[in-house]
Symmetry: C2
Subunit: 223 residues, 2 copies
């Protein structure tokens, strides 16, 4: 009947390390803990009112995710980002989406679910709601990958997109044309439904390229 965890709400059957990992991951992904920030076990343990063990294990989860790096006996920190890494993320994302499109077209998968997310993007753009637009955009692309029915690629995708979220949080995303982003998507759906792989892949590549712009300053000047 341990009842002393003020800051972390214990959920049935969920080990503390998982809750702790979620909290830290969130802080990294929303930019609270920027690349380069030291990650100290004892400090986090005190802040979250748990012992070091679950914090250690949470950090290891994030290390495996590629969000944190560590030197034995020296210390751990939020992994710095480089321009090359950003380019790699977006170029691999492009490959995954092209592969997904090929599979979806070859197997004649019903992709009508994509319209739901596309519509949500238009609504969000209309309201000027950037967060909602990003959420719908992420759902759109993840759905495309999921419809390819390839668990392994989906797991790689989730890891890859997590890091993209981190980058998007660091980027100054003011003055973007939200409606233009939304308008990118219906043609992709149509191309897939018309089984025009070449066009669908070309469209989604353009979309990815336009989303990959970032300056070294926004990354914290790690080059």
């Amino acid at each position: 009947m341990a009842e002393t965890h003020a800051d972390i709400s214990r959920i049935e059957n969920v080990p503390l390390r998982v809750s702790v990992a979620d909290i830290i991951r969130q802080a990294i992904l929303n930019g609270t803990m920027k690349p380069g920030t030291p990650v100290v076990e004892m400090a986090l343990a005190e802040q979250l009112q748990v012992s070091r063990a679950p914090v250690r294990e949470a950090i290891q989860i994030l290390e495996a995710d590629g969000l944190i790096e560590s030197e034995p006996y020296k210390g751990k920190r939020v992994k710095p980002l480089t321009l090359k890494e950003v380019e790699e993320l977006y170029s691999l994302r492009e490959q995954f989406e092209a592969f997904a499109i090929r599979r979806v077209v070859e197997r004649q998968v019903d992709v009508s679910e994509l319209r739901r997310h596309s519509d949500a993007m238009f609504e969000a753009a209309e309201r000027g709601d950037l967060a909602a637009l990003n959420t719908a955009d992420e759902a759109f692309h993840r759905t495309l990958i999921r419809l390819a029915d390839h668990q392994l690629m989906l797991s790689f995708w989730d890891n890859l997109y997590m890091r993209i979220r981190q980058i998007m949080a660091l980027r100054n995303s003011a003055n973007r044309d939200l409606r233009a982003v939304a308008r990118n998507h219906p043609p992709i759906i149509e191309a897939i439904e018309n089984r025009d792989m070449i066009r669908a892949i070309s469209l989604i590549s353009d979309h990815t390229r336009s989303a990959s712009q970032i300056t070294p300053e926004e990354l914290g000047i790690a080059r």
Copy 2:
């Protein structure tokens, strides 16, 4: 072979969890711990003469690698394999190699290093040395990926190929034509050097397909 598991030789600056993870990973990849085998912390700790903490952390590393799966408070085991997973592994491997070839050709990267590994494969095939052939084959393909100069893809590749090694250890690899495997590779090098992407990708796809054969029985009948 698996004789000296009595104690762990401590290496300077290398945390125990890393050494322990290496030992367990090796046991999984060489088939000593087959898919479905329970992974019990206390048993391993006693066997390796360390406490449970580094064993726990080692297991978590392997969990992140996808070699072990765990249900909270229930137990952990070597992750069972399914036919679909095998197909996914090889199909994604094919995508990675095609992407690597495109990058290598576009950037006109010098791929002469591949010949060294190709030659080693012929030597191994001549001696009938299956292990050496597999080592050279793995080196050949990893080199191709590495020459594409894409760290992120390389890390995904390493994870993916690790699981392929596990599968190869489970498979009955008797009566394969080693020379035929070796002969697959020089044409790939030549196609790349002639900047014939289409042919290079086609050749490597055939090679991958022929390597992906496996029966449910060899996997332990997890379907």
